[in-house]
């Protein structure tokens, strides 16, 4: 198989691959000065840009590993006092242990 064919194959298999791995990916939302729990979820979603711009929340992505951890970038959660995640296959925000 030529390298060009290999790359074309990649484009073909991508949709099924994404379907397979996406269930492990989650949104990470961190409260920086405020606990997210104090903000209603709908209000949080509607005002995410304002809250982010004002430095009250940070937002990132994470993923679940087979040993049960959610891994993310440290700078996303560095200043957090409250961390939650929203997996794409799950309807509720989950708490993440902050220690």
């Amino acid at each position: 198989m030529s390298y060009y064919e290999f790359r074309l194959r990649g484009v073909e298999i991508l949709p099924s691959l994404v379907e397979r791995v996406k269930r492990n990916v989650c949104m990470i939302i961190c409260g920086i000065n405020h606990k997210i729990a104090e903000i209603p979820v709908q209000s949080l979603i509607a005002n995410v840009s304002l809250l982010y711009a004002a430095g009250l929340i940070s937002k990132g992505t994470g993923f679940l590993t087979s040993d049960g951890y959610v891994v993310t970038a440290y700078h996303v959660v560095k200043k957090a006092i409250d961390i939650k995640c929203l997996p794409c296959t799950y309807n509720n925000l989950l708490n993440l242990k902050i220690g």
Binding site: V25, T61, A73
Partner: protein, 169 residues
């Protein structure tokens, strides 16, 4: 958080439930070639949809940054993609998204630091947040928000991911 490593820019957190089987991590990224197709899934910018957004591109090179191995990729990373997994075409995690590449201007960074502790403040108004709290908006805060907004929204299509090997202990 359960544990973190600031040098590698990785945090490990413990969810209250394990909602899926999770991804098996392998420590090797050898064999990766310039031009190999890679992708990430994430929640960039103010996207708040239920499913993560796909960003696709190509592996370009390895880079040692402060003794940490990073993967340079031609993938559109944006604010909010940070922490997401970088996959290859076998669904194997190659790294963790940590930043988009931007040209650093020391003068902008100095200006940003000055604005954090300005000598004179000029209050314009107060803004109210969804939880009912209020915060005064000053000239320095507005300027800081503008600089941050410009940096956050700059798009270079070149991004960096920390190698997955730092996740394996």
């Amino acid at each position: 958080m359960v544990k973190f490593n600031e040098v590698y820019d990785i945090a490990w957190l413990e969810p209250e439930i394990k909602w899926s089987e999770g991804i098996n991590l392998e420590s090797k990224v050898e064999g990766l070639k310039k031009g190999d197709l890679v992708f990430t899934l994430g929640y960039p910018l103010d996207y708040f949809g239920s499913e993560p957004i796909l960003s696709v591109g190509f592996f370009s090179n390895f880079l040692e940054k402060g003794n940490v191995k990073r993967l340079i990729v031609n993938v559109a990373f944006n604010v909010g993609n940070s922490g997401g997994p970088l996959f290859d075409l076998n669904g194997k995690v190659l790294g963790i998204v940590v930043e988009k590449s931007l040209m650093r201007d020391p003068m902008i960074e100095i200006a940003f630091q000055i604005l954090e502790k300005p000598g004179v403040e000029l209050e314009y108004t107060k803004i109210k947040f969804p939880d009912g709290s209020e915060e005064e908006m000053t000239l320095s805060k507005i300027l800081r928000m503008l600089i941050k907004w410009i940096v956050d929204n700059a798009q270079t299509n070149i991004g960096e991911a920390v190698s997955v090997e730092y996740l394996i202990e």
